[in-house]
Amino acid sequence: MRDVAIVSFASSSTPHSDLEDVEMLAPVINEALARSGVPRRDIGFTVSGSCDYLCGRPFSFVMALDAVAAWPPISESHVEMDGAWALYEAWVRLQHGDIDAALVYAFGKSSQGDLRAVLGAQLDPYYLAPLAPDPVSFAALQARALLDAGRCTERDLAAVAVRGRRDGGLGASSEEELLRAPYIASPLRAHDCPRSTDGVAAVVLVAGDRARQVCERPAWIRGIDHRIEAHSLGVRDLTRSPSTELAARKAGVAASKVDVAEIHAPYTHQEIILREALGLDGGTVINPSGGAVASHPLMSAGLVRIGEAARRVLDGTAHRAVAHATSGPCLQQNLVCVLEGDR
């Protein structure tokens, strides 16, 4: 395996942006490139993550290419997934050995459409989609299963929200205060659900010695893996995330102490499931960025977790960090990435 590191990260998000995709992307991509120390012409591969249903038009990613200077022609790819999976593709591409640097970006404007309808479109069209269930209700089924199993209480869920809101800069709140709010889909309250935002993110990956040349303290990708489970909720044990457990094992999470973990848990109860699946204990700082409770830019939220984890390695506050990204209803698909600084 070729050593590949994250050398820079930039992102922006806001609940309702009046910018279009390229206007949101260009400044953030340029910021990531400027911080990377890698000239644009040295980027050998560019890959993005986005969702046409969210944009409301087919092949929406080709419009976004205006943000990356695709002339003269560049080597480019796209995944119809969160940008975390685009980063995985970039990491694989860098393993080929013929290029040294890759740009990964992701974008999505949730405010333009009806997220319940957009996310409903990912469901099995025969048995699920015709019933028009919505993503919050799906998450609530999972939360109930976890509560029934005695693995958490509604107060534990509120505690996740209190920490996320505080760390994400949304201000102080108390569990008591949050628990007084009505259910929006019992057993979930508003604070248990992702704070939907419009957002973009960009990461620059550099391989081998070139990473050390451009970056004082590269965040080396020591392990990365993604796994998927069956789609139907009825065949899964919703209280566990076996695909995260397996990806964590393949990525080598347990090899030594994890200083920081950025977990992509759209709903508060999912953080509890994922913490267990990743095998994290009290010694790991969880979601110092605030996580999805503070800001959930659909399609870049997973890439932001990787970027935020890398940021802590890049700035020296963490030696070893774990990032996680998820996709699909009730944590169907999960990606785990282990990042380390040089000692």
Binding site: S13, D18, Y127, L131, A132, A143, A145
Partner: protein, 325 residues
């Protein structure tokens, strides 16, 4: 973190309602088709996997092993709620129009759970582990909606018979999504100019090219645009095509000409109608000018320019637009 954005100041972005709507026709195949045919006949069937588990609803392959599944097995119309959530405000298309519970229900004889609605009087009447039973829809067509819902308890209500029919082989999957699409600040500013009869381009700070209509970033440099530049509404036809084929929604009389017009002061041609000249006389290098709709009739769209018509000037020399071929 909230990012700072470097784009045109002082303009409100335009938005427009937008609906994405279409209907897929899906082939159901031997497993899903048989399951839905069973529902139409008031029967619930699963499939048995190699490991002996019974999957309800059935899938074509065992989700655990990927192996093809075996025989169909009839299962009960009653079962146990595995988990549930409460819907206080039902949405269009959901099984019930009054508050209800979503539940994953493991039917008697099945090893996996089916998602459906439970018609319970309130959330207080719901708990995991409770027993529920199918209520069939009277008019059944071979859809998951043939199960109207489940109700608490074990009281089985026979399905009303439906007329015999061919097995269910296809289904329609309608998609309907409402959007409010934003034009972004750069394009909004341009479109506001169009209403005033002005064409506002933007200059790239790196390559100095002027784009009209401007985009969010220079596509060759990847940087946000800088200065706004008023571009002339006269220009040169760099290329064109003659439309002879009628199509739905066409408003122009055939034949008509669609051309690339390099506006004076711009570096990228725009596409628009060429008129005021017989189609067979349109040529590369033809000098043209925008014919605007009267003030007051202009909307924030390029249709506020009716078309481009010849100015009567001598044709532009080829070298002046060769770069755009």
């Amino acid at each position: 973190m909230e990012g700072k954005q470097d784009v045109a100041e002082g303009s409100e972005a335009l938005t427009s309602p937008y609906v994405l709507e279409y209907t897929y026709r899906r082939s159901l195949g031997p497993v899903v088709g048989r399951f839905l045919t069973g529902l139409r006949e008031g029967r619930i069937e699963g499939v048995r996997t190699a490991s002996g588990r019974v999957l309800v609803p059935p899938t074509e392959y065992d989700p655990e092993s990927g192996a093809a599944v075996g025989d169909f097995v009839s299962v009960g119309v009653s079962g146990v709620v595995q988990t549930w959530s409460w819907v206080s405000e039902p949405r269009k298309g959901q099984p019930l129009d009054r508050p209800f519970a979503w539940a994953l229900i493991k039917l008697d004889g099945a090893d996996t759970a089916l998602l459906h609605a439970v018609d319970a009087p309130s959330a207080d009447a719901m708990r995991s582990g409770m027993r529920v039973t199918v209520r069939w829809r009277a008019e059944r067509v071979g859809s998951i909606h043939d199960i109207a819902c489940f109700v608490p308890g074990d009281e089985v209500q026979a399905a009303e018979p439906v007329a015999p029919a061919e097995p269910v082989r296809r289904m329609k999957s309608p998609v309907h999504m409402d959007f409010t699409i934003g034009a972004g600040r750069t394009l909004s500013r341009f479109l506001e100019g169009v209403v005033q009869g002005k064409l506002l381009g933007r200059r790239c700070p790196t390559c100095a090219k002027v784009y009209v209509p401007p985009k969010g970033a220079c596509p060759t440099c990847g940087v946000p645009f800088a200065d706004e530049v008023v571009v002339s509404d006269t220009g040169t036809v760099t290329s064109f095509c003659i439309v002879n084929v009628p199509f739905e929604g066409q408003t122009m009389k055939l034949p008509y000409t669609y051309g690339s017009v390099l506006l004076d002061g711009a570096d990228i041609p725009i596409l628009h109608l060429i008129s005021g000249i017989p189609a067979d006389e349109v040529r590369m290098g033809l000098r043209v000018k925008a014919e605007w709709l009267p003030e007051g009739e202009r909307q924030p769209t390029l249709a506020s320019i009716r078309w481009f018509a010849p100015t009567g000037e001598a044709d532009a020399p080829y070298e002046s637009y060769a770069e755009h071929q």
